[in-house]
């Protein structure tokens, strides 16, 4: 079989195609948000959708996040599949009451009679030099709200697959889009059929034997880079990309940690009360006898997201990951 060289595509293009395919296949899929129509979204993810499907299917809303999500709840109640765009991570907060009080619990409070099949797309995370309120990592808030699925792609094909899966899901899904990976490229052919994986599966991005880096979204490429760098120091690191924070794939994660015996959780959001604490606890509970060192966390500092000129000191980079890996060894030797 010959490998056909495919045109590299960006994550942004994969997301656009996922929306377009979903809208073409199912007339109940509607896109709404600020600037998603004429402009195609500030990140151009919804580019061309209003022209192709009309403004009723891809709608510029008034500037009101609670209103956007609240009306999407009503649309979903009535059988549509809304996909809403929150323009930036920190601008989703006005919608939190709708999210927490209604979106996340509608199925539960109606004993399953009123599921809400809606997708909330949130560009998140730092590393793009954004001014204040444009770089938050809000995953812990979403994860702490029962009733939501929370997924985040790190690769171009996953961006497509996870968005399609989110739209197909009969439950509300928060799709956290790592905005600094929007323009990362991959040899993914936007014209070829692409796979849609069920939500909830992690994947081993790089196999290794001496320790596992557990990570997701924007930190996946950083961990892969760290794993390469660690080879020089004799470490053979495995990198697990969670893809889905809720539900959490204990199986893949624990299988990896049992093989390697050591683990570091890496993410951008603050460590205290952050996703890493939950992940470390789960791993410890399930793999205690296999662990040769405590599960460590490499996270952003516990600060309001810093101004762009200082963000490189905040974001977990290769060095900080390698330091943690080094501490795993220390723990092992002492």
């Amino acid at each position: 079989m010959t490998t056909v060289a495919t045109t590299p595509a960006t994550m942004a293009q994969a997301l656009t195609r996922a929306l377009r395919d979903a809208m073409a296949e199912d007339p109940s899929v509607h896109v709404l948000g600020e600037d998603v129509g004429t402009l195609g979204g500030v990140f151009r993810i919804t580019d061309g959708l209003a022209q192709e499907f009309g403004e009723d299917r891809c709608t510029d809303t008034p500037l009101a996040e609670a209103g956007i999500l609240g009306t999407a709840v009503g649309m979903a109640m009535y059988g549509l599949r809304p996909v809403v765009e929150m323009q930036f991570d920190a601008f989703a907060y006005p919608a939190f009451e709708q999210l927490v009080s209604h979106v996340a619990r509608m199925r539960n409070r109606t004993r399953g009679r009123m599921p809400l099949p809606l997708t909330i797309r949130v560009p998140y995370g730092g590393g793009i030099g954004g001014v204040e309120h444009h770089s938050d990592s809000s995953e812990a808030y979403y994860m702490a709200t029962p009733g939501l699925h929370v997924v985040t792609p790190a690769t171009v094909p996953d961006a497509y697959g996870l968005l399609r899966a989110a739209i197909a899901s009969d439950d509300p899904v928060v799709l956290l889009e790592p905005k600094r990976l929007y323009w990362s490229k991959d040899s993914w052919d936007p014209e070829e059929p692409a796979s849609v994986e069920p939500i909830g599966r992690a994947v081993v991005r790089r196999s290794g034997r001496s320790a596992t880096l557990i990570t997701y979204g924007p930190s996946v490429p950083v961990c892969l880079e760290a794993a390469e760098a660690a080879r020089a120091e004799g470490w053979d690191l495995e990198v697990v990309d969670l893809r889905s924070l809720v539900p959490f794939d204990d199986e893949t994660v624990c299988a990896s940690v049992r093989r390697t015996g050591r683990a570091v959780v890496v993410h951008e959001s603050g460590g205290f009360g952050g996703p890493g604490g939950e992940i470390a606890a789960r791993v410890t509970e399930r793999c205690f006898h296999h662990l040769e060192a405590p599960v460590l966390r490499v996270a952003g500092f516990d600060l309001p997201y810093p101004p762009p000129m200082l963000e490189r000191h905040h974001l977990p980079g290769v060095d900080r990951i390698l330091d943690a890996v080094g501490r795993l060894q220390w723990e092992a030797e002492n």
Partner: protein, 382 residues
């Protein structure tokens, strides 16, 4: 004994009789935006004020141009220009007394500067060295707010608190047309009206919220009409007419200061540049519209008026331009210097007393920086 018993039985007091406003007409805005320049009203306008406005407009226009140029040189991460809206920006700053407060939105750098904040400090947020570069108490200017409309309830709370303390303080809060759709806008107006808080809500309706035109933002006849439902007056003004904006805002400030409560002022203006330097405005609007608005330019309008009344000669124009050039040169020079940044500042202002966790993280960064500074070149490559 229960708490309720301790306190004595609950005695419902009958509510005061509800008195609807019998005549909402005084609250309604005029059908047409109020204008001064080019009308008979213009002759009554104070020459000193007009000259002052003119000088500030010229400065503001130059400031916008300079800041935009700084984005092209990579000295400023992003700049949302207010070119075309300078009359609103300048008037907002000039109607306030020293003890009053300004609550700006992210586009309102000019108003912040016209209020006296150092031009470089006003750009800190947009340059990216810190989130707010100035001390809000020094000139009584709240931090530039990026989340839309969230500063409006702050303005109401501050004005209310000042009044409770018996202080003579008015708050002027700025918001864009798009921001009026946010829930915070509604809640702020409602609180302000119920409390009769000394607040002026100032909407700069510049036609677009990024790409979304006003017609997709509201179905109301005007944004000023929204005032009526809250029980406060709504005023409509030509936002490119500096004299008119100043007069309407000054009236509203006086009304608030005198205990009359809040006013909603809508200025009809236009955003001549794109949303920010990063935006492509050709995607959502045509050149013809922009060109038409450029003919209704705030600087030109005022210049014509001043000339007609013989209040402006070539020397005055030259002086205003010279002053603006000096400001721009100073801005350019100081913005071309790298800001002094200390990464340790990351930890300096999270809490009054840093938590033990933050102290640990601070030491971690300190060690990283020391390693970075002392590292052998080969080691640093990692």
């Amino acid at each position: 004994m229960t708490v309720m018993e301790q306190r004595g039985a609950y005695q419902p007091t009958p509510p005061p009789a509800w008195q609807p406003r019998t005549d909402p007409a005084p609250l309604l805005p005029d059908a047409e935006p109020y204008r001064v320049l080019g009308t008979e009203e213009a002759d009554r306008a104070d020459p000193e004020l007009l000259r002052r406005l003119y000088a500030e407009l010229v400065r503001g226009r130059r400031y916008n141009a300079q800041a935009t140029a700084l984005t092209k040189q990579g000295r400023l991460a992003v700049y949302p220009s207010s070119t075309g809206q300078e009359a609103c920006e300048v008037a907002a700053a000039l109607v306030l007394q020293e003890q009053d407060w300004l609550f700006p939105s992210y586009r309102d750098t000019l108003a912040v500067v016209a209020r006296g904040v150092d031009p470089v400090q006003a750009l800190t947020l947009l340059r990216g060295d810190w989130h707010t570069g100035y001390d809000p108490y020094e000139h009584r200017v709240a931090p530039l707010s990026t989340p839309l409309a969230t500063q409006l309830p702050h303005a109401v709370g501050l004005a209310h608190a000042a009044r409770l303390k018996g202080d003579d303080v008015v708050a002027l809060a700025m918001v864009g047309d798009g921001g009026t759709s946010e829930g915070d806008f509604h809640e702020a107006l409602n609180f302000a009206a119920v409390w009769r808080a000394p607040v002026v809500f100032f909407v700069q309706n510049n036609g677009f919220a990024i790409s979304v035109p006003l017609a997709k933002q509201t179905a109301a006849p005007s944004l000023a009409h929204k005032a009526v439902g809250y029980g406060m007056p709504g005023r409509l003004v030509d936002g490119n007419d500096a004299a008119a904006v100043h007069e309407v805002l000054a009236d509203a400030v006086r009304h608030a200061r005198g205990g009359g409560g809040p006013t909603l002022v809508e200025a009809i203006t236009y955003r001549v540049e794109a949303h920010t330097n990063a935006d492509d405005a050709t995607r959502y609007r045509g050149d013809a519209e922009v060109e038409a608005w450029k003919k209704h330019d705030p600087v030109v309008l005022l210049e014509q008026e001043l000339t007609r009344r013989g209040l402006l000669d070539d020397d005055c124009v030259a002086a205003a331009r010279q002053d603006a050039e000096t400001m721009a040169a100073d801005l350019r020079e100081r913005m071309n210097q790298d800001p002094a940044l200390d990464p340790m500042d990351l930890f300096a202002h999270v809490y009054a007393e840093p938590t033990p966790q933050l102290l640990e993280q601070r030491e971690q960064l300190r060690a990283e920086l020391a390693a970075e500074a002392g590292a052998e070149p080969e080691e640093r490559q990692r």
